[in-house]
């Protein structure tokens, strides 16, 4: 999957403004950005649902503008909302999509049963989908995307609005289909989700790529692991800062001093004994890996708006 200089205008406002992307086959790319960054727009363009105003894109070896039907045969899209039909049973939903992908009735039924099995929905196959939990509905949605074994799968915010348990279930299924060789473009507002699932993360802000790399690369941009000391008293802050060295960052509000370290455990021992020698009793000393929240803040200059999850 390849995109170069994608542009898309909505009423004179650019939703995508020179967006580039390259996703090697068989890998997962996480498109990370706050609400309104242009993630859905990018996905819809790559899935041939929106016309481009500029740039070009190729999916599964076909140009999305000129060879849309060829692209459609190879991709599946799981939109932001669930397209599961609540009045139909889980199995009927899958058979319906199978038929719409032009399988025969028999083939569609066989495939539906296979998928129900794979996605752990066999027991609920005969129940109307509106009685399913949010996670089950998402899994059914995912299953319906897999009817034709697409080579590219688009997942637009697959876990938005799910509770942690259901998110875990969806993650497990995504990992499973990736293991089968599908290329996945996943959008998310959740940093831990991209961290969990993606081989490569593209951070998006207002229609452009703000940064990209593997989760580890992005984290190392912040200088790798940090050691963090919390002291009991503001008076002790200068001493702690001295122990941590000239690069230490001091946060007087939370009595916190931190610095990037390379040698993790050795640094921890060194700092602990140095503090003890100077008579400073720390409230807390910890090694902390930077989270993708830190990455986002550092890259875009503003905080990622992660909503409270239901």
């Amino acid at each position: 999957m390849l995109a170069e200089g994608l542009r898309k205008m909505f009423d004179k406002k650019a939703a995508l403004d020179g967006f580039d992307l390259a996703v090697p086959a068989g890998t997962v790319c996480g498109l990370l950005g706050p609400n309104g960054a242009g993630k859905t727009t990018a996905v819809r363009i790559l899935a041939t649902l929106l016309r481009l105003d500029g740039g070009r894109a190729e999916v599964a070896g076909h140009d999305v503008a000129r060879e849309a039907p060829a692209v459609r045969r190879q991709v599946a899209l799981n939109g932001q909302q669930s397209t599961v039909d609540g009045v139909l049973t889980g199995r009927e939903n899958l058979v319906m999509w199978g038929r719409l992908y032009h399988l025969s009735k028999r083939q569609a039924e066989v495939r539906a049963d296979e998928l129900l099995e794979q996605f752990g929905l066999t027991d609920a196959a005969g129940k109307r989908a509106k009685l399913y939990s949010g996670g089950m509905r998402r899994r059914l949605d995912l299953a319906s995307s897999f009817i034709m074994r697409p080579s590219v799968l688009f997942l637009d915010e697959p876990t938005t609005g799910l509770d942690p348990r259901n998110r875990g279930e969806v993650w497990r299924e995504v990992k499973r289909v990736v293991a089968e060789g599908t290329t996945v473009l996943l959008t998310t507002q959740y940093l831990d989700e991209a961290d969990q699932l993606a081989d490569q993360i593209v951070v998006m802000d207002t229609g452009r790529v703000a940064a990209q790399g593997t989760p580890d690369q992005l984290k190392s941009k912040l200088g790798g692991d940090r050691i963090e000391v919390v002291v009991r008293d503001a008076d002790e802050l200068p001493v702690a800062a001295e122990v941590l060295g000239p690069d230490a960052e001091v946060d007087p509000d939370t009595f916190r001093v931190s610095v990037a370290v390379a040698d993790r455990v050795a640094a921890l021992t060194r700092v602990t004994s140095a503090l003890a020698a100077r008579g400073v009793e720390a409230e807390d000393i910890a090694l902390r890996r930077p989270t993708l929240d830190d990455v986002f803040l550092a890259i875009t200059g503003h905080k990622a708006v992660s909503e409270v999850r239901a």
Binding site: R44, A47, T48, L49, L50, R51, P69, R72, R73, V75, A76, L77, G79, Q80, Q81, S82, T83, D85, V87, L88, E92, M96, W97, R99, L100, Y101, H102, R128
Partner: protein, 259 residues
């Protein structure tokens, strides 16, 4: 082509299953015309005049058929806008299915639904004293005209449904109600004030209703205007005009990838 037929059927079947499994909505849709027939026919009936004479219930029933057909567009708009809003339309579009199938399926489901409504309403009418007097063939022809109008309205409904959000679709009643009343459905246009009378006479719904009255042999047919005298012709033409305008518009809107 074969796939277009299969796709249409699959899409239509989805709606039909909805109606069978959640019949509350179907009953609610049916209750309104039945209650109206009873209220207008039996309660107001004695106070209503049919221009040119005749029984009011005989006059009313074709008007009720017409209103039911016209109200059907609200359900088309609703279903189309809900599919679009829920992302189902996107998935249809991102799949290799035939694009005609989506809209053809919609028409089939809506026509089946409307036929059922007409049938129930006609049975109800027969019970309270409505009848047809010019033979079964003409009566069936009249119903065919209603369904022809319904088919045309499917295309209008698809276009409007792709245009508006489900919340706005709910408000379509506000416009439909007067549109079906400023017609010959409940009152002869001859009894209306000047400008309203012109509107009522040229209202496409009036043409179908007037043509049906003629075919059923029900009272209240005719009038001075050209529209009233050529209702049969207009009952065929008006829907054809709608189809000619809204078929391409819907197809364009559907293909309009920048939505």
């Amino acid at each position: 082509m074969r796939y277009a037929a299969i796709d249409s059927w699959i899409v239509a079947k989805r709606d039909l299953i909805h109606w069978v499994r959640e019949p509350v909505r179907v009953f609610a849709n049916l209750a309104y015309p039945i209650i109206s027939v009873l209220i207008f026919g039996l309660v107001f009936g004695s106070a209503m005049n049919v221009f040119g004479g005749g029984d009011y219930i005989e006059f009313l029933l074709p008007g009720m058929f017409g209103q039911t057909i016209a109200f059907g567009i609200a359900s088309t708009i609703m279903m189309v806008s809900m599919d679009a809003d829920r992302g189902v339309t996107d998935r249809f579009r991102a799949s290799p299915m035939s694009q005609t199938g989506v809209v053809a399926g919609r028409s089939i489901a809506d026509l089946v639904n409307s036929s059922l409504e007409l049938l129930v309403l006609a049975l109800c009418g027969l019970v309270i004293g409505w009848s047809f007097h010019d033979g079964l063939l003409n009566a069936l022809l009249a119903f065919a005209l209603f369904l022809w109008l319904r088919f045309a309205l499917v295309w209008v409904g698809i276009y409007l449904g792709l245009l508006v959000k489900p919340e706005a679709a709910q408000a379509s009643w506000m416009f439909l109600f007067p549109l079906t009343m400023f017609a010959n459905t409940f009152v002869s246009p001859e009894l209306m004030p000047g400008w309203l009378r012109v509107v009522a006479e040229w209202n496409p719904l009036s043409s179908t209703v007037a043509a049906a009255r003629e075919l059923f042999g029900n009272p209240g047919v005719g009038g001075d205007s050209w529209a009233a005298q050529n209702s049969l012709l207009l009952a065929v033409l008006w829907p054809a005009v709608f189809v000619a305008i809204f078929w391409p518009l819907s197809v364009l809107k559907y293909r309009d990838l920048s939505r």
